[in-house]
Amino acid sequence: MASSDFFNISTFAYIMAMFAYLAYLAFRKNGVGYVATGITALGFVSQTIAIFVRWHESYLQWMRFSPESSLLLGISRSAPLRNLYESLVFFIWSMIIIYLVVEYVYKNRSLGAFVTPVAGLALAFIEMSGMSKDISPLVPALQSNWLIAHVLISFFGYGAFGVSFATANMHLIITTSDRKAPSHIFWALTFGFFLSALLAMAWKIGISPDMSNASVIWIVILAGLLLAGLALLFDEGLKKVLSYFSLSPDMLDDITYKSIAIGFPLLSLGIITGAIWADSAWGTYWSWDPKETWSLITWFVYALYLHSRFMRGWRGRKTAILSLIGFISVIFTYLGVNLLLSGLHSYGAG
């Protein structure tokens, strides 16, 4: 079987897992819960196999062009972390593994109904968008041992921040009852803009790459407002759904903090490994290019979160809002910079 077959299995498995998790929430039967976890694990194993099959394919390609390479060099130079497609696949993979760990540690399957559809839909989106899945050999700048360390660390960080985004958003939804409360409007707007930004980026990558950035921004604003409005209109429904999840605000706050406590050191290490790499490739560890700068902005936002929490004792809504801003910044660092701004990184090439 080719790597694409395994990817298809995992896409299918993640979407089936979503239904299983929803069924688990509705019926609260342990058996259903085990099935949901089992399907997710199956999808994860299949995706892992797919990644390794692809790795092997690119290893063979690398060795064809550079037969003098040692086994280790060939393996490290062919790691499937080279373009937007491969990085998205890895992002989904790390999100699932972090989720499975959270499920195991907290013995709570509620988040599964959130995470698995994101993973399944993201894989399906990659499939439909028709972004290049070619195994292209590494350009000279990426031929560095720092590539694997830098990308692995950064994406585990992104995955951890993704979890904090989900829990912070749920925290805001279940703790605000007054429809006019600023935090209520805030989560609806974040939710709306986040979704519309993802959709607009998907549209730009997949359907019309020639679309101008100004129209992307306008689409994001309009669709964001629309989705925010919908979220506000149907907030009772959302709240009802979340009430099935047996999640307490304190627990959500705790998971948000713990994810950031994992994400922040990883983000720092990601920035540091990136700087060391840039130094060995170009002789400058910091050049204020948009990717570097946005990673620093993200770092600042989470530093604000930590200081307001520890030094100011902020809890609950205020810190939840900061963690939402943080993740929007993460998404911009990862995708926005490449799609909307220029930079040194290769991921935007699609």
Binding site: R64, F65, S66, S136, P137, V139, P140, A141, Q143, S144, S212, N213, A214, I217, D254, A261, I262, F264, P265, S268, L269, I272, A275, I276, W277, D279, S280, A281, W282, G283, T284, Y285, W286, W288, P290, T293, W294, L296, I297, F300, V301, A303, L304, H307, S308, M311, R312, V337, L341, S342
Partner: protein, 491 residues
Amino acid sequence: MNQKKSQSPIDRIWNLFASVTLAIILIAALAITSIVGTVIEQNAGYAKNIEVISRLLPDAIAPSAAPVVYRVLEAMGFMDMYHSWWFIALLAMFSLNLLVCSVDRLPRILKLVTDPMIPLKENVLRNLGVKRDLAVKARHEDVRDVVAATLKSAGFRPQVSKEEDGSVQIFGHKGAYSRLAVYVVHGSILLIFVGAIIGLIFGFKGGLNLPEGSSSDVVYQFGSGKEIPLGFSVKCEWYETQYYGSSFQPKLFRSQLVVLEDGQEVEGTRKWIRVNDPLVYKGVTFYQSSYGPVPNPTDGQFVFEVQYPGSGKEPATLWLRMNQPYRIPGTDIDATVLDFSPALTNDRATGKLITFDSSMLSPAARVRFTRDGQEVVRTGWIWERWPDETKANLPGGVSLIFKHYWGKQYTGLQVRKDPGVWLVYLGCTLMSLALFVAFFVSHRKIWIRVGPDRESVPLLLGATAHRNKHSFEKDVDRLVKQITSRFEGGA
């Protein structure tokens, strides 16, 4: 308010810079202004940024408003904002804030770290974050020893204190140093800044284009173009681009460099540099950065390899100049290079050979072979990238492969001297370690009061952790289990 009035101006400034509020404002200001700097392309010039600004404005007003917006932003320094006075001032205030607030808090934290632990009164013990109340059936002394041994093996370094009613309190702590980790993170940020400043003052960043075969003892500073003497010479022996298979996708850019002192090659400095693998000599680093053609090389030479298949003879290397016949070793044939193309291909439409690019994408040399002035094989092109298909097969089983047009290209080097970079790396390492300690290690204290000998020995446990309380509670439960399991079997 009264207290504030009595403060001296120095106290007031100190308190301002020690405040978390200022830190939050500064971090937010740095983050927000940095965003602008990623939208406006830095140092990109008027035309580029007018385009950027126009795209962000509604079409109707863009033509008239864009230049105005540009002028305003330019006056505010946004066109090179990371080097503008106000951004540097923000960074300086941020550093001062970091320094002052760390120094301000450090004595209190040090006290927490170094203060010896004391036994607690029972009512205090019962009010701690984590508490457990239990009893074991065993002798008081045995329980005491087991508790002490368990705490010791868990790394708490227990102390024992006797109380009046015949009970003892065993207590200890670990991970106290983790309270300092945050300040190590702050310090490491300052260290990185210090390293960056040292690099700016005592180092340089420059560029150098070196044609193959030439050397230079100066480099040119970025921005100013100022000549910077190296104190030695660097020579480029060879530059080449390699491609993946038959594609035009570059696989490797590399240059062979060598350092010369007083015209003599310095031993151990000859190195093939490539992207991600520079040459370092006397604190100066040479990075592979770009390449390009030399328009009219004065000393260009065509490098060929002569192969003698089947004869067991080693291949020979030939260096030829344009239009000068040269005897191919081991034969009585002369080779003459007549023409060169940097990128030669067969035009599909006309079937004619054409040069499709000015850069060296597919170099080829046209060579004539003569014996006593008579052509021996057809005069033709030999491609560097297609040796097997295009080599010249000569009488006597000898073949000729085109390897390189030496002297036709220059290598573009980025040259850097940064005596502060090790401080930056030290700061980065410290920060990584300290962040993990700050988040995942906590200062844990535990007190266990072992009651006097009766039917069973009561144990009262109290504990605190300054971070990650949940996981600490699990650790405490494990300790309790370890202690009780020692007695269940024997009791």
